[in-house]
């Protein structure tokens, strides 16, 4: 909210305190000052009198004006459309050398005519355009006739020598939306005297004639008061200036007073034109369903949940948001009905949001007004109306609903204060700030009892709340850092957290880059799910269709990231991400996604690189799982038949751990590759939650063998569709205990080999724990193996 320094100064002694200092002090007490701006800025102004205004000989919109500046007559070229109307009037003149927000004014020649300055509009002095009228926005400012000619303190004369502090209020300090409450807080923080208007005594009031009914639980109280005679006119200058500093336009004395009192007390007010309120009868209710024209002349669709002010069944106001068009104050207004009420903040918020009407009134109801705000606003209204609108025929206030005084008492001990803060304050040291806060502290032994004024009703209810106020006023610099004195605890990562770190370390070592992508995706990405977890969880209020669902798989995001980088000339790289996936009715899963594209390059000039193919990703995934303690012999692959829109059907596999599927890996489908404009790319998605469930092996040392191993190579021709796994399983079955390892070290298909056949070379490693093996020991075993290979997979053994 905007706070005028000059206005605040009327309530609080700010002698010797600059706006900047005030800003710092308020910020350190919890009212964050986000900006400090002068209302207007200009260095060399003078009040002048326009003597003449003639059309510029070389322009169809410029004028050549003669202006008496008090110390001589200047010729100034002026472009304002209202320049001619200013002849004989007082105007604001910026003399050469004058610095304005838009630049420095110099003597110049404009289209052949000399000009010694500028005649100013208010916005040219930096005045907030929101507080200016349409004519002020489109023309030079024409001053009152009694403006002193030659006066150089023009900003002071105009009341524009003010500074506005932009205070950002936290929800608990909405009380400071009321100037009076803000003044009290300022006084407490600065330890300065605060002088607020004294309560205006409402005496000799006429009996009330208004009838007020509340028919909804969402209006706690409603104060109504009839003022039978008012005189419409302009507001006094001080009110106009106060409103201007707060960015509120001055309209007329009645509207201005209602706005001013709202700014002072925090109570939104509405003044109805009394003659438009039939029988002076007001009913507050919900349940209306109609189109309603508010005082901004716009039609709004009212729903039953909106709280409405009605008169004989006819809506006259959207409660807490905006009044009605047909009962608003206008030139014919001679009597008014004042409304000061409390409406439920949730209802007002919903209405205000739905109708997109974020009015000053709505803002205050949403942040909750204090219980006594209405009472204060009522006497202040009467006071100002009497002074500035010749109000008379003032009736008693009609009170509907349950009005409370909102005063609380809270007791707390000195020990409590010190034990929460970790301080060693004495009783005197905490009583002092409580006095400054007007909390009327009363001490008894170790206990202090405070009385909380009504304007802090919504914020303070517990001793801790009072403690916060104490330390805010005393300053947080009083807190000295210590470490908790508590039983020892042993810190630890969560298992998944630990596993994630292990994987990330491993993959970084493989040259891959970790990515963070968005969890929220669109329908297109859902369609590219790899092992989609289930029915996607969708948002009720997404920001866009592209971020509407929680993803059920990571692969689509991964592909997009590969594609993004490929489009920026990156050709050889690998990415990975560990993130969660969700689906309706399913437990969340943690997944690992990996992609490789192009080549995995170690050295360009040494030609040390591995193509990013199925075997590259398989190697990395097996590497990850072995790193985590899952031996390769617990891992198997089987054909991928499920996810064939993302993967190449013949170069992808379902990965199983202990025969249970945990992931899919393989080459990206050529169609998809084309769609994303990718080079050869491989992808894997792994369900880490499932992996975590499987029992990881403990790292155990096995003694180094005492006897050397002997290798035995076997080359064979088999049908092309015989897998390495099959060959090795036959060898393993017949290799006896002496066969420790067997691996395929060469595969060849092509020239010299018949169609449909491939040549496979296998190395078997034999070792005994009892002796060094000789050829004779292995011969019968190898013979058995060969026989089995011939029988079981029709292998043709090639000569060694």
């Amino acid at each position: 909210m905007k706070v005028s320094y000059n206005w605040l100064k009327q309530y609080v002694d700010l002698e010797g305190i600059t706006p900047e200092e005030l800003g710092d002090r308020l910020t350190s007490s919890g009212l964050e000052v986000e900006g400090i701006e002068k209302t207007a800025y200009a260095t060399k102004l003078v009040i002048g009198k326009m003597l003449s205004c003639e059309d510029h000989p070389n322009s169809d919109h410029l004028h050549v004006c003669k202006v008496d500046t008090g110390s001589g007559v200047s010729q100034i070229v002026c472009g304002a459309p209202n320049a001619a109307q200013a002849v004989g009037k007082k105007v604001i003149v910026a003399l050469p050398g004058c610095e304005l927000p838009g630049g420095t004014i110099t003597e110049s020649v404009l289209r052949g005519v000399e000009s010694a300055g500028m005649i100013c509009a208010l916005f040219e002095l930096g005045v907030d355009k929101k507080s200016l009228s349409e004519s002020q926005l489109h023309g030079i400012e024409i001053l009152d006739d009694d403006a002193p000619l030659g006066e150089t303190d023009v900003l002071g004369y105009l009341g524009l020598d003010d500074t506005v502090l932009d205070v950002s209020l936290t929800p608990n300090r909405a009380d400071c939306l009321a100037m009076w409450a803000l003044a009290r807080q300022t006084g407490a923080v600065l330890n300065r005297k605060v002088t607020l208007p004294e309560e205006y005594k409402l005496e000799n009031e006429l009996p009330a004639t208004a009838k007020i009914e509340i028919e909804t639980p969402n209006c706690a109280w409603f104060l109504g008061k009839v003022v039978n005679h008012v005189k419409l006119g302009p507001s006094p200058e001080w009110i106009r200036k106060a409103l201007q500093a707060n960015g509120v336009k001055s309209i007329n004395n009645l509207v201005d007073i209602s706005n001013l009192v709202m700014l002072e007390t925090g109570q939104p007010l509405h003044y109805y034109d009394l003659k438009k309120i039939q029988d002076r009868d007001i009913t507050v209710k919900q349940g209306l369903d109609e189109v309603y024209t508010a005082l901004d002349d716009v039609d709004y669709k009212i729903e039953p949940s909106d709280i409405m002010i009605t008169n004989k069944g006819r809506a006259v106001g959207i409660a807490g948001v905006m009044g009605g068009d047909d009962s608003k104050i206008d030139e014919s207004t001679e009597a008014i009905l004042i409304e000061a009420a409390s409406f439920d903040h949730v209802c007002v918020r919903n209405t205000s949001l739905r109708l997109n009407l974020q009015t000053e009134a709505a803002q205050r109801f949403i942040k909750m007004i204090e219980p006594q705000a209405g009472v204060k606003a009522m006497w202040r209204s009467v006071e100002l109306l009497t002074k500035y609108a010749d109000a008379s025929g003032i009736e008693e206030t009609v009170v509907a609903g349950n009005l409370i005084d909102g005063v609380k008492t809270i007791s707390l001990t000195l020990d409590k204060v010190n034990s929460v803060l970790g301080t060693n304050f004495t009783m005197d040291e905490i009583v002092e700030p409580l006095k400054r806060l007007d909390f009327s502290p009363v001490t008894e032994g170790n206990t202090v009892t405070v009385t909380i004024p009504s304007y802090r009703y919504n914020d303070i209810s517990l001793p801790e709340d009072v403690i916060e106020d104490i330390i805010q006023v005393k300053g947080y610099d009083n807190i000295i850092g210590t470490l908790p004195q508590m039983p020892q605890t042993i810190g630890a990562l969560e298992p998944m957290n630990k596993m994630g770190r292990q994987i990330k370390r491993y993959l970084k070592g493989c040259g891959l880059h970790e990515i963070y992508s968005y969890s929220l995706v669109g329908k297109n990405q859902l369609d590219l799910g790899v092992m989609p977890l289930g029915e996607p969880i969708g948002l009720m209020n997404p920001l866009s269709d592209e971020r509407k669902y929680y993803r059920t798989s990571l692969s689509a995001s991964m592909l997009e990231n590969v594609s993004y980088n490929a489009a920026r000339s990156a050709s050889d790289f690998g990415l990975f991400e560990i993130a969660k996936v969700y689906a309706e009715g399913k437990e969340e899963e943690t997944r690992l996604s990996i992609a490789l594209t192009g080549n995995m390059v170690q050295s360009e000039w040494k030609k040390a690189s591995v193509p990013a193919d199925y075997y590259a990703i398989k190697g990395i995934v097996y590497g990850v799982l072995e790193e985590l303690g899952y031996n390769a012999n617990r891992l198997t692959v089987k054909e991928n038949t499920e996810c064939v829109n993302v993967f190449h059907p013949y170069q992808s596999a379902v990965l199983c751990l202990d025969r249970k599927p945990v992931g899919i890996l393989g080459t990206v489908h050529p169609k998809l590759r084309k769609q994303y404009d990718l080079a050869n790319t491989v992808l894997c998605e792994l369900n880490l939650s499932a992996v975590e469930q499987a029992h990881a092996a403990k790292l155990r040392f096995t003694a180094i063998p005492k006897f050397p191993a002997t290798g035995y190579d076997l080359s064979m021709l088999v049908r092309s569709d015989v897998t390495a796994e099959k060959i090795l399983s036959v060898i393993k079955k017949h290799g006896t205990k002496l066969l420790k390892e067997s691996e395929v070290f060469d595969v060849y298909q092509g020239t010299g080999i018949a169609e449909g056949v491939k040549s496979v070379a296998v190395r078997m490693t034999f070792r005994s724990d009892e002796k060094t093996l000789k050829d004779a020991d292995m011969k019968p075993i190898v013979a058995d193996v060969i026989k089995a290979l011939r029988n079981e997979i029709s292998a043709e053994i090639r000569d060694r």
Binding site: S29, I366, G481, L493, E514, Y518, S519, L543, L575
Partner: protein, 344 residues
């Protein structure tokens, strides 16, 4: 009789003339081979008388030994020279790039998260995580933010249905932990994780970001303990000379609530463009756990107190690494990622 000495000198001359190992081998065959010169003399011995033979044989042997020894010496030298030559030819361009083992990178947000986790784990905190798809109860209600509370408007929420939402704060994890461990106090945890707000993405806002929240609940925990703990964290993160300050703030689940500033690590408090001249940088929000939050979880606020704090991981990473657009973290440009190839 032969002039042995002359013969010997001639042979040594020949050996001297040899330029490489190949010539040496030829010469060796020529002189010492089966059909060589020496062997030639040997075979002539049969033609001599026994007296002559003895004398002759001795001379031939001496010749042979002398030549052989010399040949070996020269050969060794040649070999060495040849090796020298070979080594010379193996001169390489020392400036060509080495073959590095692969090295990828960890995401900057992960680097920061791990660093903060490690600091707190070393102080006895346990890492606890929770669901990103949350329910009102833990995200708001237990955190003293019932429906209609003005603070709910502070965080525009992605709702899934009446009850479920995308968590707006990792405070939700703390609320779950309070419930779970309310009868196993003390609690000393940190909760890292992704959170979501209904904000349009721009240079400083992201609809998805990461937080790490800390929570300690035990007997006699004070606001001073919070300050001391955060001081330690800031010193580990930004340097031992850092100081922190508290400014009043508001969170529904803490009372008192504070914003925490760290002295600007770039200008050491003198004022620079990072801290906008103030010498301080706001890095986190914190406070004493609200008594209502404790009671709602079944913990007696008269007996136990606690502190809580929440750090924005992106905020720290932006400060640490000088990243000025939050969207860079989610763009995942390999050129950006590659810069984060080590831990500090």
């Amino acid at each position: 009789m032969e002039n042995w000495e002359k013969l010997r000198l001639e042979m040594l001359e020949k050996i001297n003339a040899v330029r490489n190992e190949k010539e040496m081998e030829q010469l060796r065959v020529e002189i010492l081979g089966k059909k060589g010169v020496i062997q030639g003399y040997m075979s002539r011995m049969r033609e001599l008388s026994p007296e002559e033979r003895k004398e002759f044989g001795k001379s031939v042997n001496e010749l042979k030994n002398s030549v052989e020894t010399y040949m070996k010496t020269v050969h060794a030298k040649l070999k060495e020279a040849a090796l020298e030559e070979a080594i010379k030819r193996e001169k390489i361009d020392l400036t060509l790039e080495g073959v590095k083992p692969y090295n990828g990178s960890l995401h900057p947000l992960d680097l920061v998260q791990q660093e903060i986790e490690d600091i707190f784990v070393s102080m006895g905190y346990s890492v606890v995580t929770g669901p990103e798809v949350e329910i009102n109860l833990y995200n708001f209600e237990r955190a003293n933010t019932p429906a209609g509370h003005p603070a709910r408007a502070m965080q525009d929420t992605f709702f899934i249905d009446e009850d479920r939402l995308m968590r707006t704060q990792t405070t939700a994890v703390q609320m779950r932990a309070l419930e779970k461990y309310h009868d196993h106090l003390p609690i000393k945890i940190i909760c890292p994780g992704k959170v979501y707000r209904r904000d349009d993405d721009d240079a400083t806002h992201s609809h998805q970001f990461s937080q790490i929240e800390g929570l300690v609940v035990a007997e006699h925990i004070t606001l001073g303990d919070l300050k001391g703990t955060l001081e330690l964290m800031c010193r580990r993160m930004f340097g031992e000379e850092q100081t922190i300050r508290f400014r009043p703030s508001y969170f529904p689940f803490t009372e008192p609530s504070v914003e925490v500033d760290v002295s600007c690590p770039f200008c050491h408090g003198k004022g620079c463009n990072v801290c906008k001249g103030s010498g301080w940088i706001e890095i986190l929000g914190a406070g004493m756990v609200h008594p209502k939050v404790l009671s709602a979880a079944g913990i007696d606020p008269e007996k136990y107190t606690g502190f809580a704090f929440g750090v924005g991981v992106e905020r720290i990473a932006m400060l640490r690494y000088g990243v000025d657009d939050i969207r860079d973290f989610f763009q995942n440009d390999v050129r950006f990622l590659s810069e984060f190839n080590r831990e500090e």
